[in-house]
């Protein structure tokens, strides 16, 4: 349990949260700007 708490707290460090937000936002921009044509399999 202690170990799990350690890993969770490490994962939720400010640095990791910021990295996830930035990478997630860039991927979401790419998706929203062009990539996913769900019905057409890609695009």
């Amino acid at each position: 349990m202690e170990q799990l708490r350690y890993y969770v707290s490490r994962f939720l460090s400010a640095q990791n949260v910021r990295l996830s937000l930035i990478l997630g936002s860039v991927l979401l921009m790419a998706l929203a700007g062009g990539a996913p044509d769900a019905g057409l399999g890609g695009g």
Partner: protein
């Protein structure tokens, strides 16, 4: 979704091969207005969730779609000094232009849809659960910006994509791979980038 898979692989590869320091640099990039990105994505859902129907019946979803592209271009503009973002922005701009000038959805030809193994489609019909409207190339304004590239079967994931999508993939790859120092857009870009705070 094949291009999404490519994007994901590029980002993960950057994390694995460029190392932890590189990820820390990415985490500290001074990016602005990112809260607008999910909003832009949500604005696309009415069109992407709509079933196949004549495009004329989907006025509000198409308007929301154009607004969504406007928000994306704004976010990309304010972050233009960061590596890869100009490419990403150019791709979104080209796709947005094709969408705007063709009535609020990305045109795709009936031939391209057939090549994807999706049967025969009437024109001026929204292709359900996608961003596309089926239009003959001759009826498509700026047809060269539409989904003209087709990777047909027997490729396992048949795909149609535009020149804008190619720019987008290059942009994400440059963003994930380049260090901000090497690709922050010149001396002023470097200076400004490291002055700023990260606003997410």
């Amino acid at each position: 979704m094949i291009l999404f898979a490519v994007l994901l692989v590029v980002v993960l590869a950057a994390g694995v091969f460029r190392g932890r320091e590189h990820l820390q640099v990415l985490a500290n990039l001074p990016m602005h207005r990112l809260w607008l990105v999910p909003l832009a994505f949500v604005l696309q859902l009415p069109l992407m969730g709509a079933p196949s129907a004549p495009a004329s019946e989907l006025l509000w979803p198409r308007i929301a779609f154009v607004v969504s592209y406007t928000l994306l271009i704004w976010v990309l503009w304010v972050n233009r000094r960061i590596a890869g973002i100009p490419w990403l922005g150019m791709g979104v701009l080209l796709n947005g232009l094709a969408v705007l000038i063709n009535g609020g959805a990305m045109p795709i030809s009936p031939q391209a849809v057939s090549a994807l193994g999706d049967g025969v489609w009437l024109t001026a019909v929204h292709h359900g659960l996608s961003k596309d409207v089926v239009l003959e190339l001759s009826d498509t304004r700026l047809w060269f910006l539409s989904d003209i590239f087709v990777v047909p079967k027997p490729f396992p994931w048949p795909t149609a994509f535009s020149i804008g999508d190619v720019f987008i993939v290059i942009g994400v790859a440059r963003f994930a791979w380049h260090t901000p120092f090497s690709a922050m857009g010149g001396r002023s870009g470097k200076r400004n980038a490291w002055k700023g705070q990260t606003h997410v």
